[in-house]
């Protein structure tokens, strides 16, 4: 077993052959924890990460510089029909590098549902509590109190309070935050307590090796047992530099609900019941902007520190499946979402410092799919169901109501044409049938559910231990595991499930 460390695949000059106890694919929330736990158990373990190894010195707070480096497809990933933009992380640390630090445990009602309806064993709220507590301690999770609330979040609180709706402060994993507001472009101040800052250095300290710029292209297996991974190291411009062959007793898939499912499909894993890649949930969301007389400058300060849960219930069949938080983008993202073009668009952009923005995210029931195209690229198929569309419409209306209650002079729902209201009476009269994919810009940041866990191999892809039903030694430790949508930010759930399932992975990697 060699010492731990980070290796840049772009620096490799010749093919590499590794023989280890376990290999982890992906270094986000799930992969980093799996890697750390395996290393701490004394096992020889490596991680393969297709993106680059960047550090806080690289995060320059420029959208045009960071989007290509931190996001899949340069930030341009979308569903096959191009209706929903899907922002997914890329690089060492995965999506934990660009997320806004939201920390919420998997709701008890969701865990109950998974046990009752989807046959997930050993993952009750009580059984997961130790994992939640450990992860929250590791990530220094704390509540975002009033002094840390920026103007955009304060207007959400004000509107929610004024309406008498349910809401409250959120918890984040940040220490020493400078409140610069550039979280989604990577933290230049190392304040984000994420996989890059916390978990991966701990894994490396325990002896793990992390190979950046190395893309897993195929899982090696005989249909019953996994034997390793074939991967390619790429230069900064994407050109192949070397093959990396890893022989291992255990492979942990932690490449996201998109990446893991796509790799599994490319590798022709057994799928006797047609479950692999199906069940994709996205948490699709859209934004609503309110124009205020006063200055908001929502790009300053901590994003998403307050939530509205008035229209969010986790009970099965609920008609309240919308989570509302603030959304704010820097000029490029804002301009892309702002309705129209040309002179009218620029005139609207001049109000940038005066707008507050909220987003309604749907706790979705739509079941999409991750397939692969002829080049092996992931294809995301997701046709929003009518009930989910209605939830989206309900959520956008709720956002508009909050903004008006907070004092917005005018509220705009971006659509073609944009819908603008100045009073609740106008809002009440608004026909919301226009709210649908392709008419309203939709964004998703939480893919889930493509390799679901459960005890029944006819309805799930992996066991409740995370191990594949048919292929021994192949585990999943990312959002692919979740049988349904979470209805909230997934990072704590992903970190915690990876920790909760780690003993099973370790046991298999030890050859027992």
């Amino acid at each position: 077993m060699s010492g731990g460390g980070f290796v840049r695949g772009r620096d490799l000059s010749q093919d590499l052959k590794l023989e280890v106890d376990a290999v982890v694919i992906g270094t986000g929330a799930g992969g980093s924890v799996a890697l750390r736990e395996l290393a701490r158990a004394g096992l020889d373990v490596v991680a393969l990460e297709e993106g680059a190894w960047l550090t806080s010195r690289d995060f320059d707070q420029r959208e045009d510089h960071m989007l290509p480096q931190l996001f899949q497809d340069m930030g341009g990933r979308a569903t096959e029909d191009m209706a929903i933009r899907v922002l997914q992380g890329r690089g060492v640390g995965g999506s934990t590098v660009h997320n806004t630090n939201l920390c919420k445990r998997t709701p008890d009602a969701i865990l109950d549902l998974w046990a009752r309806k989807y046959g997930v064993a050993g993952a009750s709220a009580a059984e997961l509590r130790p994992a939640f507590e450990t992860i929250e301690r590791d990530l220094s999770v704390s509540e975002m109190t009033a002094p840390m609330r920026n103007a955009n979040n304060e207007l959400l609180r004000k509107g929610v309070t004024s309406l008498g709706w349910r809401g409250g402060p959120l918890q984040h994993n940040r220490v020493g935050c400078q409140q610069s507001g550039y979280c989604e472009l990577g933290c230049a101040y190392d304040a984000k307590q994420n996989a890059l800052k916390v978990m991966l250095p701990q894994a490396v300290a325990a002896g793990a090796r992390v190979y950046a710029d190395v893309e897993a292209v195929r899982l090696l297996h005989d249909g019953e047992r996994v034997t390793g991974v074939m991967a390619v190291a790429r230069a900064a411009d994407g050109t192949p530099r070397a093959w990396v062959d890893v022989k291992a007793r255990v492979v942990v898939l932690s490449a996201s609900a998109v990446g893991s499912a796509a790799l599994a499909r490319k590798s022709r894993l057994p799928d006797p019941h047609g479950q692999l890649g199906r069940g994709l949930r996205l948490h699709p969301g859209a934004a609503v902007a309110g124009r205020f007389d006063g200055t908001i400058e929502g790009w300053h300060g901590i994003p998403q520190s307050y939530e509205c849960t008035e229209h969010l219930s986790f009970e099965e069949g609920s008609d309240a499946r919308v989570w509302i938080v603030t959304a704010f983008a820097h000029p490029i993202g804002t301009a892309a979402t702002m309705p129209g073009f040309g002179a009218a668009h620029m005139a609207s952009m001049r109000a940038y410092p005066n707008i507050g923005v909220l987003t309604a995210m749907v706790h979705d029931e739509t079941r999409g799919e991750v397939a692969v195209d002829d080049d092996g690229r992931p294809v995301l198929r997701y046709a929003m169901t009518e009930p989910d569309r209605r939830q989206l419409a309900k959520g956008l209306a709720a956002c508009a109501r909050i903004l008006l209650a907070a004092g917005a002079r005018e509220v705009t729902i971006p659509a073609i044409p944009p819908r603008r209201v100045t009073t609740t009476a106008e809002l009440d009269a608004l026909d919301l049938s226009f709210v649908r994919p392709h008419s309203v810009p939709l964004t998703a940041v939480h893919p889930m559910g493509t390799m679901r866990m459960g005890e029944n191999p006819e309805t799930s892809v992996v066991r409740s231990t995370g191990e594949h039903h048919q292929v021994r030694g192949l585990f999943v430790a990312d959002g692919s595991l979740f049988p349904t949508s979470l209805g909230g930010p997934p990072q704590i759930s992903i970190y915690s499930f990876a920790l909760h399932l780690a003993p099973h992975v370790i046991e298999r990697a030890r050859g027992t």
Binding site: R62, M82, Y182, I332, G340, Y352, L430
Partner: protein, 190 residues
């Protein structure tokens, strides 16, 4: 608030699929038209070397960018133009790094915009030969097209144009953005 009923969904879906199929064919035709009819006569300024665009695509993007990022105050020298910040050049470099499928789709969309979209908007001319006002009419027709595919194409073009435009610190003052905290010049970015 009112919600539209789901009645008639089957009929609309079938019709929409037909329309989408038609639009997809139109996009392919747009690309083919460019290949067959005319790709000459487009002049790329200076000795610029293009990373992805062919000369005709570059010129179409230049024209589209000038309208999509058009200033709201005519003659205001404080507002950089799309050409000032080289939106088309930026897009050329950016798209060259994108996935092949995306590059192909964008190329077809540009062919559609140049040759077919003007016809759909009632003009018997290429997009790049229309007046700015007529180009706005064409772009508005594509933005509001009944086809999801065309609207998505316009959204993609618009997003890239605004990335090319608002990436430049010279544009930040227009929208009151004070720019990154890191490496901020002594006098600010604006």
């Amino acid at each position: 608030m009112r919600e539209a009923s789901g009645q008639g969904r089957r009929v609309r879906l079938t019709r929409r699929r037909l329309i989408q199929a038609g639009v997809a064919a139109a996009l392919v035709l747009g690309g083919s038209a460019v290949a067959v009819v005319r790709t000459r006569g487009y002049v790329v300024p200076g000795d610029r070397r293009l990373a992805f665009f062919s000369p005709w695509q570059f010129v179409v993007v230049q024209h589209a960018a000038r309208r999509i990022a058009a200033p709201d105050r005519a003659g205001d020298a404080a507002i950089p133009t799309a050409d000032d910040v080289d939106v088309a050049g930026f897009m050329d470099g950016w798209i060259a790094r994108m996935q092949p499928g995306v590059r192909r789709d964008l190329g077809r969309f540009l062919g559609y915009l140049e040759h077919l979209a003007p016809v759909g908007a009632g003009f018997a001319s290429r997009f790049t030969r229309l007046s700015p006002a007529d180009q706005d009419t064409v772009l508005a027709s594509v933005e509001a097209a009944s086809s999801d595919l065309l609207r998505a194409g316009f959204d993609g073009l618009k997003s890239l144009v605004f990335m090319g435009y608002y990436r430049d610190p010279r544009t930040w003052g227009i929208v009151g953005y004070d720019g990154p905290l890191l490496n901020r010049p002594a006098g600010g970015w604006r």
